[in-house]
């Protein structure tokens, strides 16, 4: 039975989480717009979040092991709030970056090198 035909289980969630994570990293690496990079951050954090929730779910645990409480969901809550805080700081930084460089293209910030 391949991963495509078996019933949805923990591994499917982990795969989706990994895909989100990698998409986010690629987005951060390739986007030139500050806000695009910010979207990449959200994807990365939510990839990790999905892992937490999937691991914490009592339904998805392998059969025979007991549930492990709701820690996963709680962590997801904390991460959502942290992501919001980071987004707030990021918007502020993006704005001041715009003031300084008259663009939100991150590749234009290249004065520091050596």
């Amino acid at each position: 039975m391949s991963i495509f035909t078996e019933p949805v289980g923990l591994s499917h969630f982990l795969v989706v989480g990994a895909v989100l994570f990698v998409c986010g990293v690629i987005c951060m690496a390739t986007k030139r717009n500050v806000l695009g990079v910010l979207m990449g951050i959200e994807l990365v954090l939510n990839g990790a979040n999905l892992n937490f929730v999937a691991f914490g779910s009592s339904v998805l645990r392998p059969p025979g092991t007991e549930g492990i409480g709701m820690d996963g969901q709680m962590i997801a809550l904390f991460v959502i709030v942290l992501a919001a805080a980071e987004a707030a700081v990021a918007l502020a930084i993006a704005l001041s970056y715009y003031h300084a460089h008259a663009t939100v293209d991150v590749d234009r910030g290249d004065e520091l090198r050596g």
Partner: protein, 555 residues
């Protein structure tokens, strides 16, 4: 329990309350100089609270083992030096936000040290990171500064996310967020679901990668030179001390103590990163002219030495006393922090508000024009280079001695001997650029007398650092003993974990007798239900305060 838990938190609460007061006060008052005094008073109060704590008190997801105490004192001392260093008001709006954020990073470091739970640890790390972004933003208001703030922010968030992703696998593999239970699950005391053990290895790699960013280790170091160069001396001093200390605490907690059975893999990884880091940092530092950029590469190189100590700690956990790496790690970190803050404080003192000293050439002839500042700078440079009577020498001695003392019967010993040789060669290379600064100060014709208008606070900080460096160099015993908590920190492999509710299945082994040596990390506390969340709430809330503080830019 809850009351005791709160009592354990008093120092952090004092700092966070002071930070909130300073933010709010800044919104209501136009005072400029008072904030540093409030911050200093808060640090003093926190120190009193920490001093009066009962070290054996119980705390929920908070620990109070020797490592936590050591790092908490370290955080308070570094915080005092940094507040003093940054006591000159900013040239533009935002001084209260700056000082408040500084206090929050110190509180975050103290919480990281005490965290016994991956959630609290992650939130505490963010309590360091987010104020640091704000500090980088506030320090200067030119294009370079914005570039460095943006670089640090995006890479910092990516590192946090990688760390979090690693934590998610750690949680998934073991079914718990508490370090004591993670350890119990991984050392075979409880049975994992089939196939889950591989998650622990994945977690180790991801966590280490995320932390390499915090400590600026190769290959996650590349932000450091740009960010240091683009910000102020005070921010550079903060960046080179606080996130690094936090990163090493988490590494010690997780790699050494919470993930057992990984030493055969982990010491190799850490050793390779250590050698690469020190070599890269030292070589790149050789042709830098910008002072902060030079010290950024220097801090990368110093990270390499500290990682070498960590690798020794992973490989030689059974070695006695001073040679087991862990002592070296904490001793080295303290001496490095003192010398680095001293160097940046001297530079801050020598400049003036409108014109920073940025270049090494600005120091030309300082020995004649400003002999006292030159002496302080020379002491810090000699210590960083590891010249014998100073503190840095003892740090390097402990690190390399530890590496050489790893049992040579196996292959590990040869690798560590090779690493120690590379390290000593590196120290020789490093001496070249540290001594170049000293030579510039004493053997070059002075071009212009530096204004030395950086303020009394920066000068006090610089002198205190120099005195610390000399004092530790002459009398290193107390600091070494303070850092010698490996007996509590490192459990023997057969020690067994004390645990109560196995998350998965039945227990494989009968519980070990209670007289078995307990590892300090899990000197197990009663978990107090609401309070851990109270703590976290307070934490996250204080982050809200930080995020609101960034609104200032819209003015």
């Amino acid at each position: 329990m809850t009351a005791a838990d709160l009592r354990l938190l008093v120092p952090e609460i004092v700092l966070i309350a002071a930070a909130v007061t300073i933010y709010l006060g800044g919104a209501f008052s136009t005072a400029r100089r008072a904030w540093s005094w409030i911050a200093a008073a808060a640090l003093l109060l926190a120190a009193v609270a920490l001093w009066s704590q009962n070290p054996s008190a119980d705390g929920g997801s908070l620990g109070c083992d020797a490592l936590a105490r050591y790092v908490q004192w370290f955080a308070l001392a570094a915080g005092a030096l940094l507040v003093s260093l940054a006591s000159r008001p900013l040239r533009f709006d935002g001084t209260p936000e700056y000082v408040g954020s500084l206090l929050l990073t110190v509180a975050g470091l103290m919480l990281v040290a005490a965290a016994e739970d991956i959630v609290l640890m992650f939130v505490a790390l963010e309590l360091i990171s987010i104020p640091t972004y704000v500090l980088l933003y506030l320090g200067r208001d030119d294009a370079e500064s914005q570039e460095s703030a943006a670089k640090y922010f995006f890479l910092g968030v990516l590192a946090s996310a990688i760390l979090l992703y690693g934590f998610s696998f750690l949680y998934g593999a073991t079914g718990s967020t508490a370090f004591s239970e993670i350890r119990a699950a991984l050392d075979g005391t409880t049975i994992l679901p089939p196939g889950f053990a591989v998650f622990a290895r994945l977690a180790m790699v991801l966590v280490f990668a995320g932390l390499c960013f915090k400590v600026a280790a190769v290959p996650f170091h590349f932000y450091a030179p740009d960010v240091y160069q683009g910000t102020t001396h005070a921010n550079a001093a903060l960046l080179s001390v606080v996130p690094k200390a936090a990163g090493f605490v988490v590494m010690a907690r997780i790699l050494v103590a919470a993930i057992p059975g990984m030493e055969p893999y982990s010491w190799g990884v850490v050793l390779a990163v250590a050698v690469l880091t020190m070599t890269f940092g030292n070589v790149m530092a050789l042709w830098q002219d910008d002072f902060r950029r030079l010290l950024a590469y220097s801090s990368i190189a110093q990270t390499g030495y500290i990682l070498l100590a960590l690798a020794v700690g992973l490989a030689a956990r059974d070695a006695p006393g001073a040679w087991n790496g862990i002592v070296a790690l904490w001793f080295y970190l303290a001496t490095y922090a003192a010398a680095t803050i001293g160097a940046f404080a001297t530079m801050e003192y020598l400049g003036r508000a409108e014109r920073r000293l940025d270049s090494v050439d600005d120091l030309a002839g300082l020995g004649r024009t400003r002999p006292a500042a030159a002496a302080v700078m020379a002491v810090c440079m000699f210590s960083l280079a590891g010249v014998p009577p100073l503190a840095g020498f003892w740090g390097k001695l402990l690190v390399f001695g530890g590496a050489l003392s790893v049992d040579t019967s196996g292959t590990a010993g040869w690798w560590f001997t090779a690493a120690a040789v590379v390290g000593v060669l590196n120290a020789a290379v490093a001496a070249a650029y540290y001594l170049r600064i000293v030579a510039v100060m004493y053997f070059r014709i002075p071009l212009a007398t530096p204004p030395a208008r950086g303020g009394r606070g920066a000068w006090m900080s610089a002198v205190a650092c120099a005195l610390l460096v000399v004092g530790i160099g002459i009398y290193p015993g107390p600091l070494m003993r303070a850092g010698n908590f490996c007996d509590q920190q490192l459990p023997r492999v057969d020690a067994g974990a004390k645990h109560h509710s196995p998350p998965f299945g039945r227990q494989k082994n009968p519980p070990p007798p209670q007289s078995a040596p307990q590892f300090g990390m899990a000197a197990t506390k009663k978990v107090s239900t609401p309070n851990a969340y109270h703590i976290r709430r307070t934490l996250v809330l204080s982050q809200t305060r930080v995020t609101t503080s960034c609104h200032i830019i819209f003015k």
